[in-house]
């Protein structure tokens, strides 16, 4: 990949050419040039080739003048594309005369060419200049006064919007809302950055009204939830029965459709459908079992199976009402004081009896004796025998009807609750300012003057806003219960002293949870497109990339680094992206991972037996089954399925999801990129090497720059702008590895080194896999192999009898001699 360097970083020549082309295209459309006219084609072709000479450039002064060979190659290329000789000559004239010559050679080459028309030249220069902007945080200084003057000549003007921090999904919504408002005023976006968008339009820049923006933002949010997350509302809203039963009641209660989906999901979960029964409960020594043994005199004489069914029945119904009552509590808190009365009426209407007293105040923490008494009354009044399934099917119509009625009372309130933090999101906007700058300054001054009113206001650990939400590990990520610098010094970390979050960060977490319930247990990768120009190019390239990304993510191979390493070492990634992905695009993710896993296993077994079940049973004589599915489940239980098959099936069943707009993409990877060595996880530094490989690979595949979020909810500061493929993590332990990879002085993986780095890291990962547990270096294996001499690694492998030619070849590829 050839780079194009500048004062503020560099971009690939391909990305720069496409960006310059599309910006010029947008300008030509705005000034109503006839499509496919000569001047139209000249500008387009000239933008494609204008930096062709820079292919030779290695830093220092960039060459501009083309050699005879280069001119010949350009002519052939453009002729192949169907342009006439006349257009090609003119485009060469324009490509060489679109900037001031840097040296005598360039000046002489320019003199030889005919002069282009002023209009063509100005449109071409504008395309080039705007496409060269890399650091959007400093956009005011990146645009030359001369550029504005050139635009004015065509009756055009520039404007932009910019945010201070990049959060993830919420910032994407803000970008979309602002783009919509600008487009309504006929200002079209020409360059997209993670922290903002640059627009060109006729007339003066539109003034953004706060109320209007908020309204658009709410519409965007509603659209996002309906489009991206409607199927996973249940997962997102439902919490652990013994902790916070409802993580986000507002999402379950936002519409009748949502509440139906919530219960559809919840009723399918084991915590209600088939709760676990412990042996101590069966013996009547603990929990519900003990309470039941007190009221059933012959408890110990009942068969174990019956005792288990009875405990399951009580537990399942108890848990059902824990979730239902959590919903009820939320509704009452939001102002519907008569909600309990309503559900009581529904109970009476459906069952013709009054609900037992205390049923709607059952909690997980209710004393077991009390809970059992209430549930016994309920089960007796409904005449349910010892079967949880029957009891649930009997109670389901009540649960649904009652939930519908309480949802009707508060869906508006729920939507309001969801969109409340959006007001805080507007504070992220740096330009255009929604308030008079003088007022903002005055407010800050007054605040400063009045001093602190009280000490100890908790602040959000992510963005420093006033914090109101106590962290939940399942929602906000691991580490909410560990010390951070925003807690008081010396304070003890307990279950009541956790990290606090503001409502906006909480919303970001909830939106991510809507897409992937366990997102906080995995990795978050930000993808910043290098081709960041108008929607024409975006639709063609970036959108295709998203489809491809989704395709590979859905089959689960996405974070399997050793699999990717194999593809790289076998040169399989050298084919075009489309060819590569045709083979990857397989199936959509499944709601239930276990079932998805069984599906995959069935496929593997079918392949193995060529669809013949009798052959399979012949090979595994201990298992009798009537179909493949049953066979797979039984074989799993009996442990006769090989590890390789299990790995293959589980890999295929897991999935990663990416939310993408033209500004950037957020990839939610469901699990940590960290391998296991026995029971222990690999060390943090070794995991960083693995993450570096994966991040670089994604960047390379999709012509993007990638950055990992340090902690699940971390934000990207607006000052960060891509200066290569992947932002190298800075950790002292990683120093020798970076030294070996010649990356010690780089903060990003440079464009021109990417293939070499990928190959080296792929070889390293394969060596680690090759050594396995016997010859590896324990949980620090990857780091040890990366820093030791290859002869040392080989000697260790030889001791374990693994010094095979394949290992020698791999070591040769990693070590630079």
């Amino acid at each position: 990949m050839t780079g194009k360097w500048g004062r503020t970083g560099y971009q690939s020549l391909l990305a720069h050419s496409l960006n310059a082309l599309s910006v010029s295209l947008a300008i030509m459309k705005l000034i109503n040039w006839q499509q496919d006219s000569d001047k139209w084609n000249v500008v387009i072709t000239s933008r494609l080739i204008h930096d062709y000479a820079k292919k030779r450039w290695q830093k220092g002064k960039p060459p501009k003048a083309l050699t005879d060979d280069e001119i010949k190659r350009i002519k052939e290329m453009l002729l192949e594309m169907g342009f006439s000789k006349k257009i090609i000559e003119k485009s060469l004239d324009l490509a060489l005369k679109d900037e001031t010559p840097g040296n005598v050679d360039d000046a002489l080459a320019m003199i030889k060419r005919a002069a282009p028309t002023p209009d063509e030249q100005d449109v071409a220069i504008l395309g080039d200049r705007l496409a060269s902007i890399k650091d959007f945080s400093n956009i005011e200084h990146q645009i030359y006064g001369d550029t504005k003057h050139l635009l004015n000549r065509f009756g055009l003007s520039l404007t932009y919007h910019r945010v201070g921090i990049v959060r993830g999904i919420t910032t994407l919504l803000l970008h979309k809302a602002l783009i919509q408002i600008h487009q309504e005023h006929e200002f079209i976006p020409v360059l997209y950055f993670p922290s903002g968008v640059l627009y060109i339009g006729k007339d003066t820049a539109p003034k953004v009204n706060k109320e209007r923006l908020l309204k658009t933002l709410k519409e965007e949010l509603k659209g996002f939830i309906e489009l991206q997350a409607s199927s996973s509302i249940g997962q997102a809203a439902m919490g652990a029965v013994n902790q916070t039963p409802l993580k986000a009641p507002e999402y379950a209660l936002m519409s009748l459709d949502a509440i139906q989906k919530f219960w559809h999901y919840a009723l399918g979960q084991n915590v209600i459908k088939s709760p676990a029964v412990h042996s101590v409960e069966l013996k009547g020594k603990e929990g519900i079992g003990r309470e039941l043994s007190k009221i059933i005199n012959i408890w110990n004489t009942i068969e174990e199976g019956e005792r288990e069914a009875l405990i399951k029945l009580y537990k399942g119904i108890h848990h059902l009402f824990v979730y239902f009552n959590a919903l009820l509590k939320a509704v009452i808190e939001w102002g519907a004081k008569d909600a309990e009365e309503t559900v009581s009426k529904v109970f009476l209407n459906i069952f013709g009896k009054l609900a037992p007293q205390g049923l709607f105040s059952l909690k997980f923490t209710t004393k077991k004796a009390e809970a059992v008494a209430i549930l016994t009354k309920l089960l007796n009044s409904l005449d349910v025998k010892n079967n949880l399934e029957n009891a649930l099917s009997l109670l389901e119509p009540f649960i649904m009807e009652a939930s519908n009625q309480i949802t009707q009372k508060c869906s508006q309130e729920a939507l309001k609750k969801i969109s409340e933090p959006l007001c805080m999101l507007l504070n992220d906007l740096v330009y255009p300012s929604l308030e008079n700058p003088k007022d903002v300054a005055q407010k800050s001054y007054n605040k400063y003057n009045s001093g602190k009113r009280k000490a100890g206001t908790p602040v959000c650990v992510i963005d420093g806003n006033p914090a109101e939400i106590t962290g939940i590990a399942q929602l906000h990520g691991q580490g909410v219960q560990s010390f951070n610098n925003l807690l008081a010094g010396g304070s003890q970390i307990t279950t009541t002293n956790k990290s606090m979050f503001c409502r906006l960060c909480n919303m970001e977490a909830q939106l991510r949870a809507l897409i992937m319930s366990r997102w906080a247990n995995g990795e978050i990768l930000f993808l910043v497109p290098q081709v960041n120009s108008t929607s024409t190019v975006f639709d063609e390239i970036w959108q295709k990339m998203c489809t491809a990304l989704e395709g590979i993510a859905n089959i689960g191979k996405i974070s399997d680094c050793t699999w990717w390493a194999e593809q790289i070492l076998e040169n399989k990634l050298n084919v075009s992206a489309s060819t590569l992905f045709v083979s990857f695009l397989a199936e959509r993710p499944k709601a239930n991972k276990y079932e998805a896993f069984i599906d995959e296993l069935v496929k593997i077994l079918k392949e193995e037996s060529k669809g013949d079940l009798t052959l399979l049973m012949f090979n595994y004589p201990r298992i009798k089954a009537s179909n493949f599915r049953e066979f797979a489940k039984k074989a799993l239980e009996q442990g006769v399925i090989s590890k390789e098959k299990i790995r293959e099936a589980s890999l295929k069943a897991s999935a990663a999801i990416t939310i993408v707009t033209a500004n950037y993409g957020v990839m939610l990877i469901p699990s940590r990129i960290r391998s296991k060595h026995g029971d222990a996880e690999e060390s943090e530094t070794s995991a960083l090497i693995r993450k570096m490989f994966f991040g670089t690979l994604m960047a390379r595949l999709f012509l993007a720059s990638t950055i990992y979020a340090d902690t699940p909810l971390s934000v990207l500061p607006a000052e960060i702008y891509p200066q290569g493929y992947f932002r190298i993590p800075k950790k002292l332990g990683l120093r020798p590895v970076l030294e070996n990879l010649n990356l010690l002085n780089d903060s990003w993986i440079p464009l021109e080194k990417v293939d070499e780095i990928l190959e080296k890291l792929a070889a390293l990962l394969k060596v680690e896999e090759f050594l396995g547990q016997n010859a590896g270096y324990g949980k620090d294996s990857l780091l040890e192999i990366a820093t030791r001499h290859r002869g040392m690694v080989l000697a260790r492998a030889a001791q374990a009898g693994k010094a095979w030619p394949q290992l020698v070849r791999l070591l040769d590829r990693y070590w630079d001699v």
Partner: protein
């Protein structure tokens, strides 16, 4: 309370009123560039791996341990590390003697020249790098030769298999 400077005084070697001498280390900067050192290490490793081609253990190769693979060169490197001799001749004689005693036959003249060249280069860089770096360099050369020799063994094995199986790659 004593100021930070006062509190730090004993650490700097001051005892009471009398100033004791601060221990100084005269660190000599390496007289060889990193890239040049790398080149020398690569060349010496390659030469010594070639030298090992001339070594056939008595009774043929019966073991593929590191000790067996390194043969007399392993002993040479140990001697160099512990500074056993002061001249190149001493090291060459020592290695050739081990070669003759443990191998089927002694090394030919061209191999002895290769050995002498390598030893001279190693003694030269020993004078240019500090004492503390010397064992690290020897260790690097040791593993480099081992790696190269293993590569040669595997290539030979592959060629042999190809000959036997009529061109089939393993």
């Amino acid at each position: 309370m004593a100021s930070t400077r006062e509190a730090a005084r004993p650490l700097l070697g001051c005892v009471g009123e009398k100033m004791s001498h601060i221990v100084r280390m005269n660190r000599k900067p390496p007289q060889i560039e990193k890239a040049e050192l790398k080149n020398v290490i690569n060349k010496v490793s390659k030469d010594l791996a070639i030298y090992l081609e001339s070594f056939i253990p008595k009774g043929g190769a019966t073991s593929y341990t590191k000790h067996a693979i390194m043969g007399p060169v392993g002993k040479l490197l140990s001697a160099l590390e512990s500074d056993k001799f002061s001249t190149a001749d001493g090291y060459v004689g020592y290695t050739v003697n081990i070669h003759e005693n443990t191998g089927e036959m002694g090394p030919k003249k061209e191999y002895i020249d290769l050995l002498r060249g390598s030893v001279e280069q190693l003694l030269d860089i020993k004078n240019k790098v500090g004492l503390s770096r010397w064992p690290k360099i020897i260790r690097e050369i040791d593993y480099s030769i081992y790696f190269l020799k293993m590569k040669i063994i595997q290539e030979k094995a592959k060629a042999k298999r190809l000959r036997e199986k009529g061109g089939e790659t393993p």
